[in-house]
Amino acid sequence: MMKDPRAPEALSWSVFTQGIWRDNPVFVMLLGLCPALAVSNTASNALAMGLATTFVLLCSGVLVSLLRKVIPKQVRIASYIIVIATFVTIVDYAIQAISLELYKALGAFIQLIVVNCIILGRAEAYASKNHVINAFVNALGMGVGFTFAMLCLGVVREVLGSGTLFGVSLFGPDFQPWAVFVLPPGGFFILAFWLFLFAVLKKRKQVRMAGRQPKSETEKEVARAT
């Protein structure tokens, strides 16, 4: 049976966990890869970027959901972009106020959260069609999922590329860091490893589910992502 796409979804646990695992923005939906590759060179940058994105996701999700009945659909994308840009600017000022070091490390990628497709995607696909509480919970899940993915990349890259974790030296002064991992190519390598891991996990799950469900999970996921 076809579900009405505009019908609000009931609040359930999966609204939250969707973004963390099943539809993880980076590892499953492959969204927001630009910041994910660029600022995951150390664990603390990754964490900060993840938290900043989560904040923008939450605030814009809530506001878009609150305004969903007011915004005419002809100007919805423009409205979402204004809302998102507002919160990104707020994060930008907040990070400058918290630590200039961090601001220097994240560089242009804070401003570029504006065009992060996870956020616009959530506003368009979820927040604009659902109750504000659902939108909040879903955005929180997506934010946690994104932060988790950022940390997966950041921790591995920092440990291999600098021999440190959150700035704490792990292997002593004799460790020769594998500098390529903190450089852009390292981001692609590590992302490929994680995607491989996720693909294997998904495949195994599909094999297990095959007997019970005739319809393949992948088809549904492809439909959701596109």
């Binding site: 915004i71 204004i82 600017t89």
Partner: protein, 234 residues
């Protein structure tokens, strides 16, 4: 799909409604941004001041106090303490009020973007005594080592920046040479793997030193005036 008005979807809202919605959202956005700006402004300025302050005392390790100065063709003027951003140089003094050195900014294009450095200069020894990076977006792990690499920092223990007898130009231009090729005290030994950034640091120092140092020597008397008062401690 048919464009026939008979079968079209409900009539689109009037333009005024669209303009009103966008205008309303934009106003709300402006209000939020302005509020945040006001709330964080003090804190951000404070952070910037502290970062610059730290940099000044890093390149002038013997100093316990500093004053800001504005330098141009007409002379050297002392600036009030809160004018940290407009200053062209910072003079460091020790406890007894004696001048220990001057911190000067320089910048040059690096690998990704402009590299802004602050260096300490000793008038007495006529050499550059320290260098720190104020702003850069160089490659982490390679270019950003100009700040942390001890061998590279050793270039700035006393980098020759002597002026000619007429005090119009440097006797030797400051140049960056390939790693391991340094032979003279006015050369900077580049970091292997970060030659572009090392060269940028060298160019920043050369440009800034050849422009500022002749002027500084002409007006240096102002640095020694009423040093006891209006100094700030770290």
């Amino acid at each position: 799909m048919s464009r026939n008005p008979g079968t079209a979807s409900p009539t689109p809202p009037r333009s005024m409604a669209l303009i009103g919605t966008l205008g309303g959202i934009a106003m709300m956005s402006g209000l939020l941004v302005a509020t945040t700006f006001q709330l964080t402004r003090e804190r951000i300025l404070q952070n910037r001041r502290e970062a610059l302050e730290r940099a000044v005392f890093k390149v002038l390790p013997e100093a316990t106090g500093r004053r800001s100065f504005f330098l141009n063709e007409e002379g050297l003027q002392a600036l009030p303490d809160d004018a940290l951003g407009q200053a062209s140089l910072y003079a460091g003094y020790d406890d007894s009020g004696a001048l220990t050195g001057v911190a000067i900014e320089g910048s040059a294009r690096g690998y990704q973007d402009v590299v802004k450095v602050l260096y300490g200069y000793s008038l007495e020894r006529e050499c550059i005594t320290g260098m720190t990076v104020l702003q850069s977006s160089e490659t982490p792990g390679l270019g950003d080592r100009v700040e942390t690499d001890p061998a590279f920092q050793a270039n700035f223990e006393c980098l020759d920046a002597r002026l000619n007898p007429e005090s119009t130009a440097l006797v030797h231009e400051i140049v960056t040479v390939k790693h391991g090729k340094k032979t003279d005290s006015w050369q900077i030994d580049a970091i292997s793997g970060a030659t572009v950034t090392s060269t940028a640091v060298g160019r920043a120092l050369q440009q800034s030193a050849s422009e500022i140092l002749p002027l500084l020597h002409r007006y240096e008397a102002a640095l020694y005036e009423n040093t006891a008062e209006e100094r700030t401690s770290p």
